[in-house]
């Protein structure tokens, strides 16, 4: 018997659900109840006329666990579709962060210079603080947050990953 792959890998899973009360609790409860890992989860209504929401979950597991996660998600009654974007061709992943940096003088100017390099936008400003908006891969956001730490980082809010497949096909 071929030995199944034992290494855990990171997968981005897209789930299309009926936007009914409790649907998110069902998904989260499934992950906690069965001991699966959630690295990131985002959800919003994407098709209001059909009451559809899209959930993007980043999780990790062996191929057997990932297959279970997909099957378990698929069997929730309000779930329309489950797709493993990681294994089904190329994908685009993005995350948005709002990052607050407080300070005066040289660090304040330095944070603005770095923000420019990262193409972060200033969405709020006071005499002693900025709020930057930054979009990109999680790694890019991590790098920016690291750079802001010595410059007066006070608060970070991140959306978690949203993802979509490349090419013309819908989910």
């Amino acid at each position: 018997m071929p030995q199944p792959e034992k290494r855990a890998r990171r997968h981005t899973i897209a789930v299309l659900v009926d936007n009914e009360a409790g649907v998110l609790a069902r998904v989260i409860g499934l992950f906690s109840g069965r001991g699966y890992n959630i690295e990131s989860l985002t959800v919003a209504e994407t098709d209001p006329s059909n009451y559809r929401s899209r959930i993007t979950i980043v999780t990790s597991g062996t191929p057997m666990v990932i297959e279970q996660i997909k099957a378990q998600l698929g069997r929730l009654v309000p779930v329309h579709k489950v797709r493993d974007l990681t294994t089904e061709g190329a994908l685009v992943e993005r995350e948005l962060a709002l990052i607050k940096v407080a300070g005066k003088g040289e660090p304040r100017v330095e944070s603005l210079r770095i923000a420019d390099i990262f193409r972060a936008r200033v969405v709020d400003s006071t005499n002693d603080s900025f709020v930057f908006e930054l979009t990109g891969s999680s790694e890019k956001l991590n790098a920016f947050v690291e750079l802001m730490k010595p410059l007066g980082l006070v608060d970070v809010s991140r959306t978690g990953i949203v993802a979509i497949s490349r090419g013309a096909d819908a989910l």
């Binding site: 018997m1 009360a21 409790g22 609790a25 409860g29 109840g33 279970q68 099957a71 009654v77 309000p78």
Partner: protein
Amino acid sequence: MTGAEMIIRALLDQGVDVVFGYPGGAVLPIYDAIFGQNKLRHILVRHEQGAVHAAEGYARSTGKVGVVLVTSGPGATNAVTGLTDALMDSIPIVCITGQVATHLIGNDAFQEADTTGITRPCTKHNYLIKRADDVARVVHEAFYVSRSGRPGPVVIDMPKDIQMAKGKYVGPEKVVHRTYQPRVKGDSAAIERAVKLIADAKKPVFYAGGGVINSGPAASKRLIELARLTGVPVTNTLMGLGGFPGSDPQFIGMLGMHGTYEANLAMHDCDVMVCIGARFDDRITGRLDAFSPKSKKIHIDIDPSSINKNVSVDVPIVGDVGSVLEDMIAIWKRDGLSADKNALKAWWKKIDEWRGRDCLRYEQTDSTIKPQYAIERLYAMTKDRETFITTEVGQHQMWAAQFYKFESPNHWMTSGGLGTMGYGMPAAIGVQLAHPDALVVDIAGEASILMCIQELSTAVQYSLPIKIFILNNEYMGMVRQWQELLHGGRYSESYSAALPDFVKLAEAFHAKGLRASRPEDVDGLIEEMLNTDGPVVADIMVDPTENCFPMIPSGSAHNEMILGAADVNRREVSDAGKALV
């Protein structure tokens, strides 16, 4: 119509004839609607757990959806054990729970509980109705979800103000589910591959589970037909008993922890295993890395999440067991296939050698009743009439599974997945209501029966002639057996102290009580039990030290079975094994 009236109308339109329930403040409008009609029969239980188990017995013995009606708060929380039981054993149940009025939800109102929150992980799906216009649609959807695909329990939480509000009724024909469309037909290429594997097999085995029962009686007939065509030995899981005739020469007994020697060794040594509506549960597989190491595995299941969950399989087939078996038979006939006769002959010879070990052997003495003997006598004296057997959970359950032979599906009701003590008597009540003229026996233990003993009152109220057949060994026998095996015989809290006098207890409930203490009294007791019109509690004083064998100790493989008490001392159970339940 009011919400409450629409509930009744929708239940009737779904073909429901009986509801198991218990009234309370938050369901009074529905009870008032029940009062105003006479088509829907309500059975008043004594505890909400009993209501769900009764509905399970009804559902399991008829193939229909069982219906439960309970109040908010404690009514709903008491139902949780039954709902979990139904989820684990794939029993179709619709449970309507009352809820406090919508404007009170979240305010910690009297008898308020977050029922949809509590029951989310223990139901297939649940609903909280917030508009009277949704009532009919939700009820029809709930029935559809409950019985379709892999069946399961569905809860409808119904606030009291919605029960009283007026809304528009729609019939079941107008309700189509937006998302839930389970796959019934199996992938034909996979089925072709599976049939080819079976035809080429030298040592095949069919491992059939509760999916055969859930698929309906036709699936069972097709399983028999495929077994005949191929000559393959068939073993059943605990939930699958009756899916293949128990006295058939091709039947090699139940498999798993307390399964037969021949069934477990056949599973271990086979070269092609066909899992038909079962789920490779830990009671079946034993130690996973030593589970049937040499076989190609085919798995037919309507639930995709059952496939490759515990065991990787070579040919997965997602679909309804009955439909897939039908396709397999058609392909076998179309291609004029035949099994490898010589190989099968050698395989059966091996199986017959294993059978020769007579693994269910026990020694009946003159002085004490062996529990196995009591069940063998019960079987001998009831097999020629229509008999349904329910059980509680423990040693008696395993002995019942080993010694009572089931010839057809839907006649065996037991709590397999959850292992719920207290299941058997309420389940028997549900079975008896669905089959008023049949004999319904709950094979029980003295500890389990006390967990839902209050339902005896229900049986008496409705003159349901169920027979409670207690194998009284004065121990929580399975707990004691494990304490012997794993904990040096330290019987921590497993002795059934201060037992009631079951004969007097029966009489206190206005039922009949009987007792047998000696082997020669067993037949007489059974005869009297069968000749009594009403409910009977039979207290059979059995050997308190008898243990349930054969047994695969936890953490062991199929070929490491303990065959009897003499075998136990040779075995050391590893710490990893002890950690398994």
